[in-house]
Symmetry: D2
């Protein structure tokens, strides 16, 4: 009964089917079988006595996994790989004796993990690039839309809506580039044996090292890996998990910042995430329009950051050629990190795609703060005309604490500023207050964003639709 036991909201509510499948049992254990198959094929090619019949038997049973039987075997042997060897052997009576030949459990577990996580990274990259694409369109469209720039969440100086979007874009781009590099550099553990020395394989090939190296390379390339580790213990170095996790963590950090900004801008009513026609904001307050997707991003991102310490402490506490205190932890923390990152990307995608800008609000707010904003211009202009910087700064600071309604007149009256009415008008023109914001947007998009979008057009992502 599915509803009578806890089910992770990650699979039930938040993550996409694609990601949930990558980390499914079906996928994981059929990948085990593919690894056994490719091992046998390579062993046969390099000279071991393995028949086509055996190979074909294995090929035919890649996906046909009897999970109940596996479970029974595992109860008996207390070893999940041994259970899967037996269950696969049941399907392949002729190949039985050569399944897993020379291998240790980590041949399947670790190589499978690397294969699956590589797929996970690819999926995330395809979503990130879509988000970047949408957001770059948005940034371009709003490149010149002046709005309040906030420091300390207090009005500081004007910026533009598009420029602010570039703050998010820049962070997303960092993540995408990190993920892209990672994808290209994930190695294969290969065929290494119980303590990584390949001793059992060397025996199989009567001490011929070249054949062992060929076996290693052959299996790796059949799974599309360019690099095979020369050095390993029983497992690949768990620091590789750290590098993968740091990429996922960085996606969380980026989107948490983006979503927090949206929640604040939702308060000021400058920008809103989409609100569905039938959506209910609150069970008690019918008028509520809450930025629930932005909040959900923060919620999940925080969870992902907490997951990120698992591989660090796990790698740090591995003992010698391996200890098993990584196993249960990795089984949970790595897939959940991918599922969470996937959930976050899906939501971010939907949010970014549907941002609604309230130009009226933005303008009225900027006008309210105009006296503040042009103070720096006034300061600069006064200094240029010969006034002492520290002194003018001090006067403006005090002025800022009084009523601002007569601000412009006050400046005009004070001789020490040395500014005419016309000067003041120029200093307070909104066009002169957003500096290079618009130009920065174009410069950034052209130099850093568009080339990446162009180079990665092949990354196809299904458009995520949120269920809840």
């Amino acid at each position: 009964m599915p509803h009578s036991r806890f089910r992770s909201p990650l699979t039930e509510r938040y993550a996409s089917n694609e990601m949930a499948e990558i980390f499914s049992d079906q996928k994981r254990y059929s990948t085990f079988r593919k690894l056994w198959l490719k091992l046998a094929i390579a062993q046969k090619k390099i000279g071991l006595d393995i028949s086509d019949v055996q190979i074909n038997e294995m090929k035919a049973s890649i996906n046909d996994i009897d999970f109940l039987k596996v479970h029974e075997y595992e109860k008996k042997f207390r070893h999940d790989v041994v259970a899967h060897i037996h269950a696969f052997g049941d399907k392949c009576p002729k190949a039985k004796s050569i399944i897993h030949l020379g291998a240790t459990s980590c041949y399947v577990t670790d190589n499978a993990d690397l294969i699956l996580m590589r797929e996970g990274i690819k999926l995330l990259l395809s979503k990130l690039i879509k988000i970047i694409h949408f957001l770059s369109d948005f940034a371009k469209k709003e490149a010149a839309t002046a709005c309040i720039g906030y420091t300390h969440f207090q009005p500081a100086q004007p910026t533009t809506v598009g420029k602010r979007a570039c703050l998010w874009l820049q962070d997303l781009l960092m993540d995408f580039n990190q993920g892209k590099n990672l994808l290209g550099s994930i190695p294969f553990l290969g065929v290494k044996g119980a303590t990584g020395t390949q001793a059992s394989f060397l025996n199989l090939f009567d001490g011929d090292e070249q054949k062992v190296k060929e076996l290693d390379q052959s299996v790796a390339s059949s799974f599309g890996f360019k690099k095979t580790l020369i050095i390993s213990g029983q497992t690949y170095s768990r620091k590789i998990d750290c590098l993968i996790m740091q990429f996922l963590e960085n996606v969380a950090v980026t989107t948490h910042k983006l979503a927090t900004d949206l929640r604040l801008l939702s308060h000021t009513q400058e920008i809103r995430e989409k609100f569905g026609k039938d959506q209910v904001g609150s069970s008690a307050m019918p008028y509520k329009k809450n930025p629930i997707y932005a909040e959900r991003i923060c919620s999940l991102a925080r969870f992902l950051v907490s997951l990120s310490q698992n591989p660090s402490y796990t790698a740090a506490t591995q003992w010698l050629e391996r200890s098993l205190d990584d196993s249960a932890n990795r089984r949970i923390s790595m897939p959940e990190a991918f599922l969470t990152a996937d959930s976050i990307c899906n939501i971010t995608f939907v949010v970014v795609q549907s941002l609604s800008v309230n130009y009226e609000k933005i303008n009225s707010q900027i006008n309210e703060s105009l006296p503040y904003f042009c103070m720096e211009n006034i300061l600069m202009m006064a200094v240029k005309k010969g006034a002492d910087r520290q002194k003018i700064h001090e006067e403006l600071r005090k002025l800022a604490q009084s009523d601002l309604k007569e601000f412009f007149k006050e400046i005009e009256n004070r001789k020490e500023f040395g500014l005419s009415k016309e000067d003041i008008k120029v200093a307070c023109d909104i066009k002169n207050l957003t500096g290079r914001a618009e130009s920065q947007v174009y410069e950034f998009l052209e130099k850093e964003v568009f080339p990446v979008i162009k180079d990665n057009q092949n990354l196809q992502a299904t458009i995520p639709v949120l269920d809840v």
Copy 2:
């Protein structure tokens, strides 16, 4: 298809059915319905116009939840509580208009969470006390069994097997006591409304504050809570989650230390966890007997410690009367923390119950290190007989770096020690080397452990059986 999507190993492999049920959808949402029922009952009692027919309609549909329909409603309304109100309303056409009367979503979500987590704590306590019980038997049995005491994982001074078990017991007892206090002090959110002011309920009762307070108390006591919060925002203070999580984290810390010790003692072959008749240690090395359960405890405990920062950062970043960036996070992190703690307790229980002590190994190891162990005794005895402490310490330190085969003779020969052959024999009697270890065990069990076991005999736990 259950195997085609990621499923949490916590529910699929590690946690007990009992704990998985506490955090199931069925349990959670039927608790929502109970909360709506009890609210209506109390409202009726205090004077609102609610009929028995309505009450009985609700009562009849507590467990009959149509999850598919809920999902459809949620897709439409984007609000899970609203979806459940509608689905419940469909079952109760007459009660429909009074379901959730005056309430906000957190009335059901937060109170349900407190109810479920209280059950989770109770379940854990029942397991902890069983572990404590078994371990105290073990400690008593091995109170006098001398073994090497290790500091820096180097032989230091003898202790006893039972005394070492008391190190674990003491930590477990700390956790149990913390959990027991927690259980007694978890408050109910009660009936508080959208921003915690009870405004809607005050309206319902025409401004009669006494009635609102009565409503609050009445619902709380119908769920067995002694304390209802006077103060809340829309939610209960998320710091309560922190306190709950700190208890769970502490269980992880305790068992990680215990299991690490067992892994080290498994290496020295002093103590082993049970190894099943058909158990397979390794798919490549038939002779392996690995402490896989102790390793699994460490693996899961590390995961739980990482979860523990979620409520801290979540509570710390809540905005004003509430923000929703707690929701998705709490839905995952709190149940998973309970499931992980439960898994750990199950494994610890099985491990502790089946510890096998290798007396032969223990003795042979102690004899090997005897010259080292009696050095302090020799030092003390020499000092008592008038020698200078620093000087003797220095000489022994140098001696310790030479071959130890002639150690006892060497001491006898050195005049500055002033010790006879007989003195040395006394100094090196193993009985004189374990100090008060045995007595400490009895003192500790009687003063601190047995009273707790006795006071908590009512906590019944099913004996966990590990499936994998």
Copy 3:
């Protein structure tokens, strides 16, 4: 040269002198000497041959520590306690041979840590109770000041300024109570020897267990500890550090939430922290008044939460009777956690003491949102008059998305609501919108806050003054 090496901003900028002194070398190492002194006094009393001359020699040199000499000894011996024994011995030539008699390093290191951390907790409690005191005055004063209650940082329903302060107070009170319990339950390690068996002391007293227990108790009570651990390894269980850290972490969580609220309210201009007469908000924008103290609280609180995982992982990874991988970590993480908590309390104290409420802003904002706020009242009133809850909820939800200027008229016109002009006026009276907020403040203060303040009047804290 103090400025030529990194110095911790905790001591240089943020923490109080009192806390910085508690964790100073002078304090720590003079406490070592006190521990040696009290050990000798107790040993003498129970029968060892120790003279008054030796005792007096030790007494005279408690504070006179030659740190340069200690450093030389440590370079030689690579052991800091041994270095301090030698340096103390140099000052006490007659007592030299009996200093540290029977003890292991942890006798001084661990007992000193417990003594110092107990002082640290006491100092924090004295600050917390002052903060609670001020904040309860504030809550009382503003108990009835209606303001917007925010959920999702969107206007939800009115609450009062005092009620919101009670959200903070409740969290602070939880922390204070936790700290108070902790203070009362911190145990002393006592006199336990190399692996905790007291073997060396049993030898010193010729196997007389009673004398060893008396020694243990005697030293403990001379430092004012009620409880001595029966069970220890070489060290006290590192889980005690976890409990201490969890208290500190909780203070961080509470104040981070409080300060975040203030930063948001500083944006809405409802409440501000004090801004100094000569204070400069920004080097570029003279008009800026930033909530820098609230921001600093968040900054430091986040750091403290990160520190809090140190004792968890440290305790979890201790090996058997002790391993030294706790030492350097505890030397940094525990004092820094205390210093950070102290810094946070100082700033919170100053902030809380100087909160400035902008009543005008608060009122104008509440009026703007009035149509929203009275919707629930209108909903409730309509339901009471017989309307269908779900239907009215739906209509209001849609209304809320239109222009609100004609809201009250609109309601009046719609027959299905069944409300007269007078009804609507009552429903929208601000007095009827804050519910029990004011009463809750009084109830909470009287039942939970004032008794604690009264019971802890003896906790005297110097009023913190912030330097920077």
Copy 4:
């Protein structure tokens, strides 16, 4: 009085002078002044009216910082950059009016941080490469030294001492390469103004964008930065701190694993860290030789991993164009992370340089486990001769649980194995048990390690000497 306040053990005990200086006040604030100087030089060059006299005045006062005066100013202005502007202005009466012209505080704080952290990374890389160098010598020397390979800390299959060192080397190399990439890609914030729009500078240059860009580039290149950010808020994206911290964290993970291995091998007595001639292992047990440096690495590494979450949560919670809740946190967490990484590298360097291998112990241990180790060979050989893999595996598993003294004879006797005495001898030759371990060492060193060492010969590190 330096000893009367807490001082960070990082500076007082563990870190090198070089690293402590990089993060000193003197270095930080003189870098501020250099930044003001270079800004003025560039502004003058591009056309602002700044005189050589002003430039020279600034040049002359770069290092002459009156910290007491700064402190007084800061007490008054509550703004540290403003305080430093005033203090610098006091030294440069003529330049006073043009110091900080057009700039906001982050021009100096953020650019200085990037400059200093870049120096810190360079220093760490110079130490890492030395560690890699020493360890590669060690690996080469011990490439063929057979020893027990441990999985689950149980004997698994033989490996070699040099091969195990390559596990550590591989991790170190990953870190080094990551750090090297980082060093090359750290950008400069440049000259961006209050909200990153460069508005104030655009004003200074009468709207001439080219001049503003030239200013930006000019200052960046005067500090040796290749890349200047196009996009920033008031600050550079705090995600850059995350990337830096992830490098530091990875160093901690690597060395924690390495040091844990050494602590375990110190127990088995296979390898020891150096023990000083006068070193004291314990104040109570003169014979103790504890792996205190390896333990200290673990202790500090754990602290560094905990620090690593600070930039993640800080970047994630930054609001809009900047919020100040990063400031106090970054002031502590970033320098402490560098100091801790530096401490760890120093200790690792000393430990790695002085590893002492106990060949006798290694050999005797391997012989004890020989029957186990050759089981896989026997299994493989038997399978090659036609036996069923699962069946032989099963038999060996059971044999492994009996007494092993008659193991070799037993195998010979069992017909189903089909192995002669000679076969068994070959299967159990230690040369045939370490597989490709030796070859892997050479392959790895030549392909991956030596090229990196060669390419980085210019990185000079002072040989660290540990004081305590």
